[in-house]
Symmetry: C2
Subunit: 385 residues, 2 copies
């Protein structure tokens, strides 16, 4: 390679699942038939009405051109109404919403729009690996803050305040939390907003799991004064089984959104209009859609618990979200354990350590698998234990 | 705004068309009915078979989950066959193609994957503004190289070699060239590859306009040794009237592609599978598709020439691509001229200067407008001249 890659790339690995899925597809290519129960890719598909909308809209000749950078009005309006009806929160459809091709890309957009080289970013450990990767790629240093089981996976503000917070520019939070399934609360969000104001930190809540196995969805934007320091990422992926569609949004005060648009409009163009129109329709689905989805996840969760029991793991029966997060009782090495299961039982389970130091000794299994698939995984694991 | 944006954002303006379209939609909201003939957003829509494929694929339940970061095999394979049949160039579908949500995002991915702070980037003037914006956002300095009408808009290697090229890491080229419509040639590409090798520069050809009013489409990847120093961006937007769909690809040697995947897989997820399947089908359309499209553009171009004549502009009747690039004869200020036409005739034409210093005194009109719309624009302009 004559031309060398940038320094920011040198210490970045490809996203964990990018490499892991390549390994699994190699295993499958030699006939190993790996059952992947580690990844949270909703398997049930969206409501028929959403697909019908996509089809109708793609049949209209004028829907194939470039779209506006901030997203079409119908979709922004739908997100605004969704915030009002589900979170009792007023969001201006015109200038407090940036449509995203999935909330994941929003993490990089925010990093690039607010972080300078040498800035610091508070990242939850355990947490979604992209927070660290995006921060580093934007030139920032990361400071992990601990989330511990004994503290119900909530941040310990006292210990965070003992850190040097002078150069901290962004704090990532993610409640309901992935991978642990811990729920947020109004009190926690209030404390976070106060903390962010005190230290002049941009607080971003990554919030894609709100409606999955959670009876009281809340938004950080509902807290008084939130718009001064907080933004929120939301997504259609999990709630509407549309992970592959890549539709999400960034919510925040106009001034913050405007900075993100500067970056994003120089990076890409607006999303395919038929996708946006279908997304707008999804956001209007009533409560029965989510109830039906959760009924299925509840049944699957029992089967996942059986697998966790088999693996000698403990878990919180009250957790929310699309995963079961289990602690290996005898404190075994989670990575060794999952490699063993992958090689011998041909079942892929996500090792906790990919989410950080505090994930060591934990496993994550996804509810996005049918009872039959989970039963088959269980059968395979029984044979090797 | 309590939290300040990053330095990289401070000197970046929102993409020109993002602001301009906002202005035009404000004018329209008070009933001004602006005719936009400046932007190149194909108006004719894709072939029916492409939309049918999207609809069929979106009806399949397993097509709604996350997709691989590099793009599905069917689409990579189609791009590979497309390179072989149109450019007589072998590209390995497995590791020399990265699927992109439109080629525009590839510009940022390349910048972030290869540029360090202080690196320099050669950018054509005039040229697509995103090359500069993405380079600056990645922390690099830009060096514009002149393209002049008297040189048929080709780079003048002698004058480029007089520059200090020590820290130059990337050179952007774009043939067929936007906005001028100048075509590339095998000789030019050979010279570019030699230049890039000599100075160890990553050469990237942005190549979305190849099939529009161009009888001899060529790829820089067809040049011997190209893969050592060159990459190419291609897109479905213009050739298949799918600008809104956001489907493109980056072509290059595995080592270069791998670096880009490191960045991209940490930034977003794979594209919606039904879009990719439909894209794969588009790439298989035969020559009659492009011929039909070009017949329409040829007729429209005559009408655009009439408008250019009216505005006292000269133009190259042999140019390719989706635009007519006209030089204002009396060397008028292009920006004043287009503002005058916008305010008085309510017709939007793109001023040449947004593409750089060498674009001053030029105008760009797009062929993606019906004869009727162009005639209406002409009628409106006649009234104010």
């Amino acid at each position: 390679m004559i031309i060398k890659s940038s320094n920011r790339i040198k210490h970045i690995k490809p996203y964990y699942f990018a490499s892991k899925m390549a390994q699994i597809s190699e295993m499958n290519s030699i006939g190993m038939d790996v059952l992947n129960i580690g990844i949270g890719s909703p398997d049930l598909g969206p409501d028929k009405s959403i697909i019908a909308k996509l089809n109708e809209a793609s049949g209209i000749k004028t829907n194939h051109g470039y779209q506006s950078y901030k997203g079409i009005e119908e979709l922004r309006q739908s997100f605004s109404e969704w915030y009002l009806s589900h979170f009792n929160t007023r969001i201006n459809a015109n200038d407090e919403i940036q449509i995203l091709a999935g909330s994941k890309e929003g993490i990089m957009h925010i990093a690039m729009s607010f972080l300078n080289t040498g800035d610091k970013v508070l990242i939850p450990d355990p947490g979604y690996p992209t927070y660290s990767a995006a921060s580093r790629l934007a030139g920032a240093e990361i400071i992990k803050y601990n989330l511990k089981e004994e503290n119900n996976w909530m941040p310990d503000f006292k210990s965070i305040e003992r850190l040097d917070l002078k150069d901290v520019k962004i704090m990532w939070v993610n409640y309901p939390h992935m991978p642990t399934g811990a729920k947020g609360s109004i009190e926690l969000f209030q404390e976070l907003i106060s903390f962010a104001k005190k230290h002049q930190i941009l607080l971003v809540n990554d919030n894609p799991y709100n409606f999955i196995l959670n009876n009281s969805p809340i938004s950080i934007m509902n807290i008084k004064g939130a718009k001064e320091v907080a933004m929120e990422l939301v997504s259609l992926s999990k709630t509407y089984n549309m992970a592959g569609w890549r539709i999400g949004a960034l919510i925040g005060a106009k001034e913050y959104i405007d900075e993100v648009i500067k970056f994003k409009s120089n990076m890409d163009s607006g999303m395919f209009k038929p996708l946006q129109l279908a997304g707008a329709k999804a956001l209007k689905l009533d409560k029965s859609w989510v109830d039906k989805l959760n009924d299925i996840y509840l049944k699957r969760r029992e089967k996942v618990w059986e697998i966790m029991d088999l693996l000698n793991c403990t878990y919180d029966t009250q957790s929310s979200g699309m995963f079961v997060w289990g602690k290996v009782k005898n404190n075994k090495n989670d990575e060794e354990l999952i490699e063993n299961i992958l090689q011998k039982a041909r079942v892929f389970i996500t090792p906790g350590r990919i989410f950080g130091e505090n994930g060591k000794g934990y496993l994550r299994i996804s509810l996005t698998n049918s009872i039959d698939k989970l039963q088959e995984a269980k059968n395979r694991i029984i044979k090797i234990i």
